[in-house]
């Protein structure tokens, strides 16, 4: 064990050393020893946060703990915090955030909602970090999955809460977009949110309203949602005030791409007037995109061509 420790501190990706430790630990399976392993891997990660072997060792250890002991929830919370600390230092660390997403599959519903609240502040300070927004998406999807499985009397209450969460996320995202100009990660998050809201929540509403009385506050009006989105896109694309600042240009490009995304994701059965509104905006948008982003002009052509053939 001592030898492998020394080896690992030198060359953190030395898989054979990690494997020998796993071999020894798997013979004993006591909690303190497993915690020891977690400490060692945390130490290794503190100086090389992208070490794949260290992260996979942690997962193996947690799997062992999950089989034997019951302190899983507490461990998961600690893991989440550790990942956040590491992510602070090494931006968009794929392995770290992947580990955190892996933890989500062990979380209960309360924990999921708790995590969403806790990570919100952090995400707000790290708007260029696409991975943390992906983590939030994972949490929200997990929440939605939970809803799909509980089709009982509580479902409408659950649904309202879920819808509230999504709506809040959309509003918060909008405020961030306006505040931090030209951040791609925010726009990508918005793409996901609006697409899910339109595609899936609308169908759920139909299913739920058949069972119970539809509450007035949960009236998902697709039209007003689309209007709102179009307003946002317009306000962002017209601020190409300063060609020197790349931010504004990036903002315009991203908002235009977002609009093209919306046109492709709207299901066909939605109202014709929405289609008309979208089609009207598409021409200007593609012209602007071609001017500012000529490398992808064949993509813009293809998307517009696709759009015009219903």
């Amino acid at each position: 064990m001592i030898h492998s420790k020394a080896l690992l501190l030198l060359s953190c990706d030395f898989a054979t050393a990690w494997n020998s430790r796993k071999l020894i630990v798997s013979n004993k399976r006591l909690l303190p020893i497993l915690m020891d392993e977690l400490h060692l891997s945390a130490l290794v990660l503190s100086y090389s946060p992208k070490s794949e072997q260290a992260w996979s060792h942690r997962r193996w250890v947690i799997n062992m703990i999950a089989r034997n002991c019951s302190t899983l929830q507490w461990i998961i919370e600690r893991e989440s915090e550790l990942v956040e600390k590491i992510a602070e230092r090494s931006k968009m660390n794929y392995r770290a955030w992947n580990h955190r997403c892996w933890l989500v599959s062990f979380m209960t519903r309360e924990q999921v909602l708790d995590e969403l609240k806790k990570s919100r502040n952090w995400s707000g300070l790290h708007v260029a970090d696409n991975s943390c927004f992906h983590y939030r998406r994972r949490l929200m999807l997990r929440n939605l999955e939970g809803f799909c499985y509980t089709q009982d009397n509580n479902s409408s209450g659950y649904f309202v809460e879920t819808y509230q969460i999504w709506k809040e996320e959309l509003d918060w995202n909008e405020s961030l977009i306006k505040q931090y100009v030209g951040r791609e990660a925010l726009w990508l998050h918005r793409r996901f949110l609006s697409m899910y809201l339109i595609k899936h929540m609308a169908t759920h509403l139909l299913a739920v309203s058949c069972q119970s009385k539809p509450k007035a506050s949960v009236d998902i009006d697709i039209d007003s949602l689309m209007d709102h989105e179009l307003c946002l896109v317009h306000s962002c694309s017209t601020t190409i005030a300063d060609a020197n600042f790349e931010d504004f240009q990036a903002q315009a490009i991203h908002s235009a791409a977002y609009m093209l995304w919306l046109t492709k994701q709207i299901p066909e059965y939605q109202g014709i007037d929405i289609q008309e509104k979208l089609r009207a905006g598409v021409g200007d948008v593609t012209r602007m995109l071609k001017r500012s982003c000529p490398d992808r002009s064949s993509l813009w052509d293809y998307l517009v061509g696709y759009h015009s053939e219903p």
Binding site: F14, Y94, N98, N130, L188
Partner: protein, 499 residues
């Protein structure tokens, strides 16, 4: 002035009439006769001089361009001694693939090949050097419009001259090959330097860097040797030496380890099989033993573990499918389940993560798309959506990044590019700029390619840079297969000569 002084209108009239008569009869014909011959003379001389200058300049430009074309042809021929034209081999391999692959690729690839125009590097757009010449010509011709009232013979002569000028410029119009001129200006691939760098890395077994990387030396061998093969210099290494070392890395379970005495893992198993394929020595392996090792790593949901310790990742699915395909034992695993698992890792943006619900990452996307391509299941991929995500990876400098908001890196020029080629959306990125970016990342003094311009070089990025250039049909490089990540002739040898 004197007319104002005269009071008598009759006197005034007479003197004015006299003056008019004098002007009409004497001065006017004089002026006419003086002007006519000189005007024609000077005009004709001027036209002759300008046209002569024009023709001389056009001929000079033509000679310069012809000399350059000859230079390029010589370089082209010297760099590629005996192999067939680059793109032809590329197309040959991709269309005549084993049934599983071609099912997924044949229709889409025929389109991609026409898009990438085999005869010339069409990614280099028609040069803009033509237009200044033409504009100048137009302006020149406009100065002497044929509608001027000249003698008919002069008019005819001028028209004919204009035709000659136009013709001379038409001859000098940029031919497709002269677009290669542009590529010369971009900077060249210092192939010899890179070969020297790789050989030096292979020889240095005691330096600190090689000791720290000791556990993945087999991967390093694959990167280095494939790069040498693409550059046509695989004979620079001792084949026997390499193969005997690889065989020593094999574990009793059938898998290969990163180096002698280490634990086996699929990553190194694939590298070992690939390196043996480069040397055409796959048959010295006990194919069943190796494939049994891999088959034993498939889980119930179709995913693959990396080794006995159970870490699951879509990369391992790609490795399993690719390795078994090279060993021609793909039927030993449950391919449908494996495909099902990969499809479950698809995200809403069209990309793939390392596990279901994982963030889309260019490397993972390459693995998933490659695995689906080899298994003949590319129809599961939403090509438009994925193509959109992938082409958004190109940043302003021309390089490609791996995820949104990240810096460009040369290794992604392989992963993103090969994925785009497999789904036939490569025309959605700007290939010129990408070539320029990769060439900028070279270390022109010591050889090797780094991840970004002016960073430290390593074998990993050298391999991906050269492989990326090969996919972009850079002249002088062997074509490489986007799914197997091996040169096309090696893949053809595996599938078409053994059967």
């Amino acid at each position: 002035m004197e007319y104002l002084a005269t009071n008598d209108p009759y006197v005034l009239w007479n003197s004015l009439y006299e003056r008019y008569g004098h002007l009409r009869s004497v001065i006017l014909p004089n002026a006419r006769s003086e002007w006519k011959p000189s005007s024609y003379k000077t005009l004709s001389v001027a036209v002759a001089i300008i046209v002569a200058i024009n023709i001389v300049v056009a001929m000079a430009v033509a000679i310069i361009k012809v000399v350059d074309i000859i230079k390029i042809i010589i370089i082209y021929l010297v760099q590629q001694p005996a192999s067939p034209p680059v793109s032809h081999a590329h197309s040959h391999s991709l269309l005549l693939r084993s049934p599983s692959y071609s099912h997924g690729l044949s229709t889409s690839h025929s389109l991609s090949l026409t898009a990438v125009s085999p005869t010339s590097p069409s990614f280099l757009k028609n040069s803009t050097s033509a237009s200044p010449n033409r504009r100048w010509l137009r302006l020149l011709l406009r100065r002497f419009p044929t509608s001027v009232k000249l003698r008919p013979s002069l008019k005819f002569w001028l028209k004919w001259l204009k035709k000659v000028i136009k013709f001379s410029f038409a001859v000098v119009k940029p031919l497709p090959l002269t677009s290669l001129l542009l590529h010369l200006e971009m900077g060249e691939l210092a192939a010899d330097k890179h070969v020297k760098y790789i050989i030096s890395v292979e020889k240095k077994k005691d330096s600190f860097e090689s000791v720290v990387m000791e556990h993945l030396r087999l991967n390093g061998a694959y990167w280095g040797l494939t790069t040498l093969d693409i550059l046509g210099k695989l004979d620079a290494v001792d084949e026997e030496d390499v193969i005997s070392w690889i065989l020593k890395c094999q574990d009793e379970s059938g898998g290969f380890a990163g180096n002698i005495g280490h634990d086996p893992h699929v990553l190194y198993t694939l590298s070992a099989v690939q390196v043996l394929a480069l040397f055409d020595k796959v048959d010295i392996l006990d194919a069943d033993k190796v494939s049994n090792y891999i088959v034993g790593l498939q889980n119930e949901d179709g995913s693959f573990s990396g080794d006995i310790w159970g870490e699951v990742d879509t990369r391992f699915s790609y490795i399993a499918i690719c390795c078994l395909s090279i060993l021609q034992r793909l039927d030993k695993i449950n391919v449908d389940k494996a495909v099902e698992y990969i499809v479950s890792c698809k995200n809403l943006d069209g990309g793939f993560g390392c596990t279901p619900g994982g963030e889309s990452h260019a490397g993972q996307i390459f693995c998933c798309v490659g695995a689906l391509a080899i298994a003949g299941a590319l129809h599961h991929v939403d090509k438009d959506l994925l193509g959109w995500w992938l082409c958004e990876r190109q940043v302003k400098s021309g390089g490609l990044n791996g995820r949104p908001e990240k810096l460009p890196d040369v290794c992604y020029s392989w992963w993103v590019l090969s994925s785009l080629i497999m789904i036939d959306r490569v025309h959605w990125i700007n290939k010129d700029k990408l070539v320029k970016f990769i060439l900028d990342c070279q270390d022109m003094e010591n050889g090797g390619i780094s991840d970004r311009p002016d960073d430290a070089v390593d074998v990993f990025h050298t391999y991906f840079g050269v492989a990326g250039l090969s996919l972009l049909e850079y002249p002088g490089l062997k074509p490489i297969d986007p799914a197997y990540a091996l040169p096309v002739d090696v893949v053809n040898r595996i599938f078409f000569s053994k059967k």
